[in-house]
Amino acid sequence: MREGASVPGGEGAGSVPALECRDVTLSYGPVPVVHDLTLAVAAGETVALLGPSGSGKSSLLYAIAGFLRPLSGSITIAGRVVSAQRDWLPPEHRSIGMVFQNYALWPHMTAVETVAYPLRRAGMPRTEARRRAQDLLESLGIGRLAERRPAELSGGEQQRVGLCRALARDPELYLFDEPTAHLDSALRADLQEHLSGRRQGSRAAALYATHDVAEALAVADRVALLRDGRIVQIGPPVEIYERPIDLWAARLTGAASLLSVTVERRQGSRSTVAVAGVSLDVAVDAPGDVIGPGTSHGDGRRSSSQDGHGGALSAGRTALVRPGWLRFGGPLTGTVLGAWYRGPHTDYRLDTATGEVALAEAGPPRFAAGEEICWSLDRLWFLPEVASEASAASDSDAP
């Protein structure tokens, strides 16, 4: 009944998904940590699980790998049911390669022994397994470290060994459990490149848990936002960033400001809106394009937003803007509250007639705190949630 909801139309209908989780509920105790979660990953696709700590990312990966038995629901990997009400396949029989947050390297084994381990378990003779392991280590640029134990490797090197071990399994599905969480930013970027490069080479699918927004947006074909064990929104990275489904999703995926605006006229994808009494021509996305999680509240939201423009156009509404959608110069005025130089760009916080807003501009700071400036905006996004919150508020007023 709900199959279509979580699988975007992009992938070929004929190919078997690498992963299908259906109504999976997980728990360590009386309180479930993942509720009725449904998620599909197409062959060759990378899906990022983005959520704060405790949102259930790791638990879901552990369940898919076979370390945690779901209370209910089913999990299918590459067309093979690995976990259902009756059937349960132990981890070693699932076609999975996993990279762990804490590396999980065996302290008593050298790098090459570690990478050869899955090959040996698959029945490869010792010398051949070692040779293949050595090749894999070479391909990630750590061939010279083959005879070292984990204690003699840096964090980045350890995680590369961990990645090699997962690659050696040559699975249908990779599971990445925050693999870069303990690495500094340079190593993190380096490992991300290896991950993407390797994955494209192998054509295998991947599920990538992280709490780092930039990482999720960079590595994934689709991003799933996880909150309290439920998928709040799932979609391509651009959509996740530009069209958040609610304020929580917007804040999770980056800085965002709220503006009170009145839509005066709408023409195609562009509208004339009034911000603090000033009319502006901006790009406006319609919330109807958002693909919801397809679980508890997907359908209702979609229908309400499709035909909701007429009513929404007239009244004052709350719109969401990303810092990059604002620019200096224009009809609006404000005061700089602070400026933070980030290297590639500078973040500003402005005090305006419509409240505090965040603005980002490439290059070093041009204005200091206290300066009066002019600003404008190029696009905005009406949160679907705002409409439903308003209706929820009126609902609750009724009884």
Partner: protein
């Protein structure tokens, strides 16, 4: 300075005295004094200790894998159950086993199934192994927690290893240091064990080094006996030191773990509960039934009568508590309280001083005093201080302190190691002076640990038998010695009553320790 002084008084002087006496007589004389029975005792001791080490480590590791790998509901109680034998007096356990499974014991009376082999090597090995299992369990469980983290096993499972394969290729290699440490601890404890061989070995004519020392020192009129005691005492030291050396060497080659924190434990959803049931059955058979048999014997009017309510009486308890045993009871409690207090104070002092200078010396001292067997210590202390302290409680107190200060020291030292210096720095930068930083930040962390250490020393002093039985004199008998003497006089019901009293006392003190499981774990951490 204080550390040095304590070491000199507590350990060095007695041991120097021992070696001094041995060499003054001429080593020839000591060696010549060794007779057939003594060499047989050494062989017996080695055999028993090796078998007990193997059994206890096997059982302890199995139990640790069952309880620590999966978050079973009610696991806490299972852990407590496993630790109980560690805290009950070993000779009481031996008496309990005799009453439960021995000839004319509970099973013999009820089912006609008695185990005559209980008196002798087999019984000694089994009871000692049951008693030492918690020691191995604690060490292996700690090893599982700190070395073989769940994620390491999971990484092997997703690499295609079956659970059995992963046990052999990942878990056991990672546990190797813990297994060796556990085996050495059990070996040393078994070599030093006196209560169990005394109860189960002496009646069967099966002598170990410790029972030979006891018999030679307490009962023998043979002039060569004392030389023989010294020779045997030296053998015990050699065995203990060699075993500890093996552990130290194997520890050095241990692989260093890396990476972040371990992954979470998994709930035991959908797993077979059979291992839990087997473990529970084991605990009932080895711990609960012997204790129950002891209580029933204490309650029954005479041996041979069925232990039914009609035959129950409290008279045995009345008979057990006469003037002598109540004096012994008071002696035991006074000794235990004083020893526990001094051991913790000494331990705290050493921790503070060692922290200031770097604690290279500390582990070495702790190892030495742990390794020196109680029998040897008693003989050495008798030689060093026996001249002016003979037959006094003070002599026994010195022995307790030498033997048990490690129990007071080690929990404090390991929690000090774990206290990050940043905590103190943070307090100082928050405006606290040196003293108030110590009072507000350090002390609250140490208080529960110090309490647990105190209770631990208290318990072990309360059921100490090896040294007390060699050092007591008229008026300085302890409760444990009283139980042993009664047992050897052969009055099972009164012995059982006194043993029940002693065990109740020990267990009452043990409950808080068992609840402080974390601190209790520190004891076994080699």
């Amino acid at each position: 300075m204080v550390v040095l002084l304590a070491v000199v008084v507590l350990a060095a002087i007695p041991l120097v005295a021992l070696v001094g006496v041995a060499s003054a007589d001429g080593w020839r004389g000591v060696v010549d004094s060794v007779d057939d029975r003594s060499t047989r005792a050494v062989a017996n001791t080695l055999l028993v200790a090796l078998l007990v080490s193997m059994l206890a480590v096997l059982g302890g590791a199995t139990a640790a894998l069952v309880t620590e790998r999966w978050a079973w509901a009610g696991r806490r109680w299972l852990r407590l159950g496993i630790l109980v034998p560690f805290l009950t007096p070993p000779f009481v356990a031996a008496v309990g086993w005799v009453r439960a499974y021995g000839p004319s014991g509970l099973t013999d009376d009820a089912l006609g199934v008695g185990w005559s082999g209980l008196y002798g090597p087999a019984g000694i090995v089994v009871v000692l192994a049951v008693h030492a299992l918690p020691l191995a369990y604690v060490v292996v469980a700690a090893g599982l927690a700190t070395r073989a983290e769940p994620d390491l096993e999971r990484a092997a499972r997703v690499s295609g290893g079956s659970s059995r394969r992963v046990l052999w290729t990942i878990t056991l290699p990672l546990l190797r240091p813990a297994l060796i440490t556990g085996a050495v601890l059990v070996f040393v404890t078994s070599v030093n064990a006196f209560g169990v061989p005394a109860v189960l070995g002496i009646p069967a004519g099966f002598g170990t080094v410790t029972t030979r020392i006891y018999q030679d020192l307490a009962f023998s009129a043979d002039p060569a006996a004392f030389s023989r005691v010294i020779a045997l005492a030296c053998v015990l030291v050699v065995l203990a030191v060699v075993a500890t050396g093996v552990a130290a060497l194997s520890g050095r080659r241990a692989a260093v773990r890396t990476g972040g924190p371990a992954g979470p434990e998994m709930p035991a959803v959908g797993r077979s509960r059979l291992p839990l049931l087997l473990l529970g059955a084991y605990l009932v058979l080895t711990t609960l039934v012997p204790l129950l048999a002891l209580v029933l014997t204490a309650l029954t009017r005479a041996v041979g009568l069925p232990p039914v309510p009609a035959n129950w009486t409290l008279a045995n308890f009345g008979e057990a508590i006469d003037a002598r045993t109540s004096a012994a009871l008071i002696n035991s409690i006074v000794l235990a309280v004083v020893a526990a207090t001094l051991a913790v104070l000494l331990g705290a002092l050493i921790v503070v001083l060692a922290r200031r200078r770097g604690s290279r010396l500390l582990p070495a001292i702790a190892t030495v005093t742990f390794a020196v067997p109680g029998s040897t210590l008693a003989v050495a202390i008798l030689l060093a201080y026996g001249g002016w302290l003979r037959d006094t409680l003070l002599l026994i107190l010195v022995a307790y302190l030498v033997k048990l200060w490690v129990l007071g020291l080690r929990p404090l030292a390991s929690s000090a190691d774990r206290l990050p210096p940043e905590h103190l720095f943070a307090a100082r930068t928050s405006g606290a002076g040196a003293l108030s930083a110590f009072v507000t930040v350090v002390l609250p962390i140490f208080r529960p640990v110090a309490a647990a250490a105190w209770l631990l020393v208290f318990i072990f002093a309360l059921h100490e038998l090896t040294m007390s039985s060699l050092l007591y004199g008229p008026g300085s008998s302890t409760l444990a010695v009283a139980v042993l003497n009664l047992q050897q006089l052969g009055d099972p019901t009164v012995t059982a009553a006194l043993a029940v009293l002693l065990t109740a006392l020990v267990l009452a003190a043990a409950i808080p320790v068992l609840l402080f499981r974390r601190s209790a774990l520190e004891i076994g951490r080699g």
